[in-house]
Symmetry: D2
Subunit: 349 residues, 4 copies
């Protein structure tokens, strides 16, 4: 083990200890496979309650790219594509998973990772106004991330406006919640699980980056939205044989508010770091309300910083400066945060 | 929890307790993602040693269907299909995953789940003799399972013959080892990991059904066989963010021979059941050397049996009889085996 | 040019001379592209009349494999496959086009190229009775050919029964009419265009093998069956820029009964050959009511025959005999038929 | 027939009359199918000569989208995408054909439809410099059009630079020559067929828009570049049964320099129109060296113009002006050109 600090990302540790405890307790139970077990069902019930969507179909898959590809392929028809921020995960960092499934990602201009209802409307109006639009990929869905890849948040008003734009042009609205715990816990956040279930046709609650070993919970309030979704999940290689392992993780995270707490802890640690960054005069690339922090360092400072702390390289800022990302998580140790703040202080002199 | 016996399948329990222990011990370590961590690398080294393939590329994926689709798509060219027993998992129970990836499964007649080098040769000869073969799907690969879906085994001679047939006609040989532990531990087995690495272009070592929570280890002795396999894995939604969770599981299973023992235990329990079945005059559908047992029960007996014990329905035998499958696993409790034997005795009167 | 006789297939000549005349007459007209021109519309109207389907959507594509892939991809959902005779064109001779589009061809036992409503029912019942059917490819469509690849015909009763079986199990019924002219003109045929439009969700009227340079007319009585079919056609590379060329060919073939006559001519020539084969004691592989004739020749005779006449090799019959196919077409010259009969007489001595 | 002038596009008429003559002359010849006939072979030989590529593989397909999808799918591996001008035909007007084949179109900034070697290098350098590039779609090919969708031309130097950039980063270079005749005949053009064969891994010679009824000739100087290309063509529904129809068209176009002349005629007519536009003070959107002319009209003038002449709407210029395209072709009648010039004069007062 390195003695370096680690603030490179939010999926470096294992999982909330309560999960390991329950996995251990239940290890020798014999349950049905493929998510038909009691733990999965219990998790579903808890999520349905939180979403106020008593009939919701909920499926537990393994990872985000897999969920995105499976949901998008399930909903789109062959002639349709999916609108996304040009910085969206599906547009950039899924190695062409959506295209491998046969669909074009239609990139929209974004601001700090976000797109707006008006951007969607403008795209659709231009599309339908184009005399050749039946030679073009029809938009069939809008993909957003909450929080975005830049750690920013959609407000409830913005989400509603996206919802309205989608209804207006016959698009599905789908939200990628890989880091949803860190949105739900943010002070400025006003979008609840209930809102997501109401405004989005499909969204998923991220487990992998929010306290689980792995796993994402796909939620659709309308259980008839994707007929035979189970079989599509199987076909896409996304069906977990021992589905109870995923189900039990979500059941645990949604017991005693662990999911909420996981988010709150990460954000509390992030707040300390942000405060220190301000105090010591560091430059933010832009400010975020969640657990991802983007700052600009001069390259000399970065070199020293990098020897003491793992971070994520983001992009060059200018010839002499670089944008980096620091991330806290449900598992961030307060002592590490203190050590990081110490380091930031030292380097600021 | 039910008080019924459970012999329906081999993926109903959690995982080998040593895995949970190590997950717990290492829970707060911070490691790099996507399988680039030290646990994954340690597991790779152990597998490379056992395979005598020091340069082998080894990747850890989540489940079998996912592995099959990813490997097959990676190796085949657009005009090629994959030969498989008509009972092969990819031919029947993967919901069309291979076709969704663009490739036809070319079914071969089988015997108890097995195909032969000669069957491959015959298919290929007929194919190339056909004047229209360039209007047809060219065979590009042979898929086998070890053990097969029927619990039977390829001998080393049979495997070598398949290998030779593949070389003769320019086909890749790929072995699905979802239940490999139960092959390796079988008394009649003479195919080692080393043999698999030598005879097959690619094979995978099953974790999910052999003592892991989830996970399959894909092995190719020739590390250059699939350029950019990592990116294809990502694209297919098969890349685990916290790759260390999978790596650590395989590292554990290949420490102190746990994988071997997992197989041996299941087979010892299966042997007890097979002996009892013989003793009490039950009819085998066919005999298998591994952990899956196929028997024929009259429907009346089955009804009573089913009230006491979970089993897998296989197929109708005749109007009054049914084929069922019983399976043991690494986790089968000796007391349950005894109770099952008791039940079998009672029902035989 | 060879001085050999040619009875190898029905797409060796150009097209009905009336088509070339009209292409020449209209060559410098300037019309809108992509099938929106007046000739295409006129052809549609004629076909709608013959099908008694005034609202039918009709699109003109280039070739059969293209039509099959485009229609099947348009109608099936990702989790569905298409039932077809194991000898069906899509199952054997389209180089995996359907699988490349993501769908499995589910082969059914056939008799002389035909499948029955009961075979469909049996497959579907077994499928839905299988406890694992949601891990399997769901049948979503039945594909038939009229006439079949073996030159045989479905009767109206058989077609209706297939239609009923499809309705019973929620399947689309699709008929490949690559050689439809040779079905419509057959004495024993009782299936009209109107019947096809009524019983099938989609079918196509073959042009390429029935008197056109190229082109197939896809017909669906329900114009709302495939939303945005035009765009899917474009996406699949099947949209002809100068759509009027295809439209005008069908307009010509459906003027003055040319399509019907094309069929009648081929069948009259085929009848002469069949009569001669009987008279001279040749062995039929099986008898067909259409323009394809399957006979068994001893290999020595075949050698001589092959020096005088091009034929299609079909399959070995036994060690000393071979099955060959002879085909007439709309263009078969009576003099050639006479020469063939002469040759058959000579060889029979 | 309308009495309007037609300058909307270059695929409104039929074909060069010499083609119809030869189709008529050869109509009853019986030739082998699928492009294995003598006419196709003769056409291939002529093209090989012009390309100085005696071993080149040449295949005749039907239309451009089909060619693009088939070639790109054949050359790219699953993890690769294709770089193209963001205005490229595959990026905009093929209804997602490339994505339906599983590959992402990676858009590059363009200038009047063109991209540069340096733009390719910059993209690739940034790609390989990105720490996450193995989570991203790797560029595997560059797609260009000659002439571009905007009627502009690559010079030989520019083409060579693209070739060099491709070699540097392991990319295939592919040129879409849908309107190639209009490039070859342009005064400023210095890129010959021979240059295209030398600099591009694959390119195609457009027939549909350059004097044929339909058809595109795919040329690759290295005949081993795409193994089993024939079968892929079949699979993609792009194999013409009566291949001789396409072959004969290209054989005709490359006899007596008809292809060259077709281009020259269109450009001569275009030059007259361009001269008139300048004379009467019209505003060019930008100037092109080929048969497509882009001008800006005020909306009032456009209304009158549109009543007399069919044109292609391109895009809005500003609130009161619109960009339109006029196109000449191999078939443009000099009298129509005169009438158009007359109209332009009238409207300029």
């Amino acid at each position: 083990m390195s003695d370096k600090l680690f603030f490179a990302s939010d999926y470096m540790e294992g999982c909330h200890p309560a999960i390991l405890e329950r996995l251990t307790q239940t290890n020798y139970e014999k349950t049905a496979g493929y998510g038909t077990d009691g733990y999965s069902e219990a998790a579903r019930q808890k999520i349905r309650m939180l979403c106020n969507a008593p009939a919701a179909e909920i499926q537990f898959l393994v990872g985000g790219t897999q969920v995105n590809e499976t949901v998008i392929t399930s909903l789109l028809r062959p002639y349709q594509g999916v609108l996304a921020a040009e910085t969206g995960h599906i547009a950039v960092h899924e190695a062409g998973a959506i295209e491998a499934g046969g669909h074009k990602v239609l990139p929209l201009k974004q601001e700090y990772g976000k797109i707006s209802g008006d951007a969607v409307r403008e795209y659709c109006r231009a599309f339908y106004a184009d005399a050749n639009h039946d030679h073009m990929v029809m938009p069939g869905m809008v993909y957003i991330s909450q929080p975005t890849e830049y750690g920013t948040l959609y407000s409830l008003n913005e989400l509603r406006d996206l919802h309205d734009a989608c209804r207006q042009f016959g698009l599905y609205l789908y939200a990628d919640g890989a880091r949803l715990a860190y949105a739900l816990a943010a002070e400025e956040n006003d979008v609840t699980l209930l809102d997501l279930a109401e405004q989005c046709d499909v969204f998923y609650i991220g487990g992998t980056k929010c306290g689980a070993l792995f796993g994402e919970a796909v939620v659709m309030a309308d259980p008839g939205l994707i007929p035979h979704f189970f079989t599509i999940i199987k076909q896409r290689g996304a069906l977990v044989a021992k589905g109870r392992i995923t189900g039990l993780q979500f059941d645990t995270l949604f017991t005693d508010n662990l999911y909420e707490e996981a988010g709150r802890h990460a954000l509390a640690e992030a707040e300390k770091i942000k405060a220190a960054l301000k105090k010591y005069g560091y430059q933010f690339f832009f400010e975020t309300p969640t657990n991802q922090i983007f700052i600009v360092l001069d390259n000399e400072t970065l070199k020293t910083f990098g020897q003491k702390c793992e971070y994520s390289y983001w992009e060059p800022f200018d010839e002499n400066h670089t944008v980096i990302r620091l991330a806290t998580s449900w598992a961030t140790d307060g002592a590490d945060t203190e050590a990081l703040i110490q380091l930031l202080e030292t380097l600021s002199h």
